[in-house]
C-alpha cells in the first residue's frame, strides 16, 4: 500500500513518460526561443513586423486554447476580450502613460473584466450552445466598440496611440517592438502552460472530458469554468495590449467575428489542447492573411475560409476528437 514508482500528479506529464522526452522538449523550446530572439537580425523589417503579428496572434490563440482545448469550451466570442484589452491599453497609452508595463496590466485587467462581466452568462452551457452564446456576446461587445465613439473612436478606431516606452524611451523601430512582444508573449505563454499543468488544469480537463462526473466528485464546475473564462480573458487582453503596441491602432474589426473564427481555426489546426500547436496554427493563419494576402489581391481571408472548411472535413475524428486520438496512439 505504498506509492511505488513515481507518483502521478494529475495534469503533469504521466509518470511513465521517459525523462528523455522532457529534456528534449526543453531543448527544442530553448532552440525555438533563440531563433525567435535572433530573427530581427536576419529578417527584413516587413518580415519582422509580420513575425510580430504572428506572436501577438499566437498568444491570443493560446489563451483561446485554454478554453477550447483544455476545458472543452468552444468560444467564438474570445476576440471581444482581445479587443477590450487593446482598447484599454490604447486609451491608457494616449491619455495616461505608455510606459511599460502599464498598458500591459491595463490590457490584461480589462480583458479579465470584460470576461468577468459577460462570461457568467455562459457557464451553465457547453458545446454548440456555448459557441452560440459566446458568439452573441462577442458581437455585442464589438458593436459597443463601434457605437461608443467618444471612447473608442467608433468605426475609424482608436488612432494616434503612442509607441510603448521602456524606462522613458519609446520603442521606435520594428525590431525593438518585436523583442518587447516576444518577451511579453513568452511570459503569457508560460502562464497559460502553468495553469494547464496545475492541479486546477487537471480539473479543467476533467470538465472537458466529463462535466457531470466532475460535479459528482465535488467540483462546482460552473465556478471553474467562470474562473478559466476570466483567466483566458486576461491573457487575451494582454495579447490585445501587444496588438496596439505593434499596430498603434485598434478598430472594431480587430475584435470581430473573423478574428475570433481564425483564432479558433488556429487552435483546431494545431490540435485543440496542444498549446504549442496553437502557436503554429496562429503562424499559419497570419502568414496566409498578411504575408500571402497581398499576392491574393487582399483576399487572404477567403483562403482561410476555405482552409477552415477543409480542416473540418479532414481532421480524422473531427475537431473535438483530435486530442484524444493523439493520446491513445
Amino acid at each position: 500500500m505504498t506509492a511505488i514508482e513515481a507518483p502521478t500528479v494529475p495534469g503533469g506529464a504521466p509518470a511513465s513518460a521517459p525523462r528523455v522526452t522532457r529534456a528534449r522538449t526543453g531543448i527544442i523550446a530553448v532552440a525555438v526561443l533563440v531563433v525567435l530572439a535572433a530573427a530581427p537580425f536576419m529578417l527584413a523589417p516587413f518580415a519582422t513586423t509580420t513575425l510580430t503579428r504572428v506572436l501577438v496572434f499566437a498568444l491570443f490563440a493560446v489563451s483561446l486554447d485554454l478554453l477550447v482545448g483544455v476545458t472543452g469550451l468552444p468560444s467564438l466570442g474570445h476576440a471581444a476580450y482581445l479587443g477590450a484589452g487593446a482598447y484599454a491599453a490604447g486609451w491608457v497609452s494616449i491619455n495616461v502613460t505608455a510606459e511599460a508595463p502599464v498598458p500591459l496590466l491595463v490590457g490584461a485587467g480589462f480583458g479579465a473584466l470584460a470576461a468577468a462581466l459577460t462570461g457568467w452568462v455562459t457557464v451553465r452551457s457547453h458545446g454548440v450552445f456555448f459557441l452560440m452564446l459566446t458568439l452573441a456576446i462577442g458581437e455585442t461587445l464589438q458593436q459597443l466598440a463601434d457605437t461608443w465613439e467618444t471612447v473608442t473612436g467608433g468605426a475609424n478606431g482608436l488612432t494616434g496611440i503612442p509607441a510603448v516606452r521602456l524606462a522613458g524611451t519609446p520603442l521606435a523601430n520594428a525590431g525593438f517592438t518585436y523583442w518587447y512582444v516576444l518577451a511579453v508573449g513568452v511570459i503569457g505563454f508560460a502562464l497559460v502552460v502553468m495553469v494547464a499543468r496545475s492541479p486546477f488544469g487537471a480539473a479543467l480537463r476533467g470538465i472537458r472530458d466529463n462535466e457531470p462526473r466532475m460535479r459528482a466528485l465535488g467540483y462546482s464546475t460552473a465556478r471553474y469554468k467562470y474562473a478559466v473564462i476570466v483567466m483566458a480573458g486576461a491573457v487575451a487582453g494582454l495579447a490585445g495590449a501587444l496588438l496596439v503596441a505593434q499596430q498603434r491602432l485598434v478598430t472594431p474589426a480587430d475584435m470581430g467575428f473573423a478574428t475570433a473564427s481564425f483564432a479558433l481555426l488556429a487552435v483546431i489546426i494545431g490540435g485543440a489542447g496542444s498549446l504549442w500547436g496553437a502557436c503554429l496554427g496562429a503562424a499559419l493563419v497570419i502568414i496566409i492573411r498578411d504575408a500571402l494576402g497581398p499576392s491574393l489581391d487582399g483576399h487572404g481571408t477567403l483562403v482561410l475560409g476555405i482552409v477552415f472548411v477543409l480542416v473540418v472535413y479532414l481532421l480524422p475524428r473531427g475537431a473535438a476528437g483530435l486530442r484524444i486520438y493523439r493520446r491513445r496512439r
Partner: protein, 252 residues
C-alpha cells in the same frame, strides 16, 4: 440516529410521478439496499438524494444538516459520494490520474493554479487503487480498462471523496460472475464507519450485503425493513410478479 434522511421526496416528469412522497432513513454504518421492480423510481430517487436532479418536494438531510437546496458538488464535499450505473469516467486520463482528480479535491488543500507534485494525493490514489484491486493498472488509460475494472475504478473514485455516505447505483450491472464476486468482497470490506446506500437489481447481492432494505414500487415506498422481513412479505412478492418479473427471487 440516521445519517441520511429523506422526507416526502417527490419528483414527477409531466404527468408521471416517478417518485412520490418517499421517506427514507439510513442509520450510521448501515448497508441499506434500495430495490424494486423496473420503473419503481429507484434511479430517480438516487438522483434526488445525490442532487443530480432537483426534487419537486421534500427534503434530504445529511448527518443532521438539510442539504435539499445544495448542489450535487456541495453535497459531495459534505460527505456524500456516488458511483454511477454506467461507469462514467474521463476519456483522456489514466486510472491514477482519475482517482487523483477526486483525491486532490478532497485532500483538504486548495486546488493550486501552479504545477506542483502532490505526493499526498498521488499516494492516496495509489492506495485506493490497490484497495479496489487495481494495483498494477494505475497507468493504464481508462479507455483500455475492462468493464469490471472501470466499475472498480468507480468505487475507488467514490472513496477518494472521503464519504460518510456512499451511494452506489447498480454497482454490479453488466459484471461477469467473477467480477461480481470480487465486488461483493470489496464492498463487504468497506470500513464500517462508511454508510452505504445502494440500488441493485441482483437480489443475491442485496441479501449478501444489506442489513436493511427499502422496496420501492410505483414511486412509493412499499416496505422498509430487514432482509428477512422483505423476504417474507407478500406485498413485495406481488409487486415483483405484478411487474412481470419472472425470477424466482425469494426462493433462494
Amino acid at each position: 440516529m440516521s445519517v441520511l434522511k429523506c422526507v416526502g421526496l417527490s419528483r414527477s416528469f409531466g404527468a408521471l410521478a416517478a417518485v412520490s412522497e418517499v421517506d427514507l432513513a439510513v442509520g450510521a454504518g448501515a448497508r441499506h439496499a434500495l430495490i424494486g421492480p423496473n420503473g419503481a423510481g429507484k434511479s430517480t430517487l438516487f438522483k434526488l438524494v445525490t442532487g443530480t436532479m432537483k426534487a419537486h418536494a421534500g427534503s434530504v438531510e445529511l448527518a443532521g444538516r438539510d442539504v435539499t437546496g445544495l448542489s450535487e458538488a456541495k453535497r459531495c464535499r459534505l460527505g456524500m459520494s456516488q458511483t454511477l450505473q454506467h461507469a462514467s469516467l474521463f476519456a483522456s486520463m489514466t486510472a491514477a490520474e482519475t482517482v487523483a482528480l477526486a483525491a486532490q479535491r478532497h485532500g483538504g488543500g486548495r486546488i493550486s493554479l501552479v504545477p506542483r507534485k502532490q505526493p499526498a494525493v498521488a499516494e492516496r490514489a495509489a492506495e485506493l487503487l490497490a484497495d479496489v484491486g487495481l494495483d498494477g493498472r494505475e497507468h493504464v488509460a481508462v479507455a483500455s480498462l475492462s468493464h469490471g475494472e472501470r466499475k472498480q475504478l468507480e468505487v475507488a473514485l467514490a472513496l477518494a471523496c472521503r464519504p460518510t455516505v456512499l451511494l452506489l447505483d447498480e454497482p454490479a450491472a453488466g459484471m461477469s460472475p467473477a467480477e461480481r464476486a470480487r465486488l461483493v468482497e470489496l464492498l463487504a470490506g468497506l470500513p464500517a464507519e462508511i454508510t452505504v446506500l445502494f440500488v441493485e437489481h441482483d437480489l443475491d447481492l442485496v441479501f449478501a450485503l444489506a442489513d436493511s432494505v427499502t422496496v420501492l414500487h410505483l414511486g412509493k415506498v412499499l416496505l422498509s425493513g430487514t432482509p428477512a422481513e422483505v423476504r417474507a412479505s407478500d406485498a413485495v412478492r406481488e409487486a415483483y410478479l405484478g411487474a412481470g418479473r419472472r425470477e424466482e427471487l425469494f426462493l433462494a
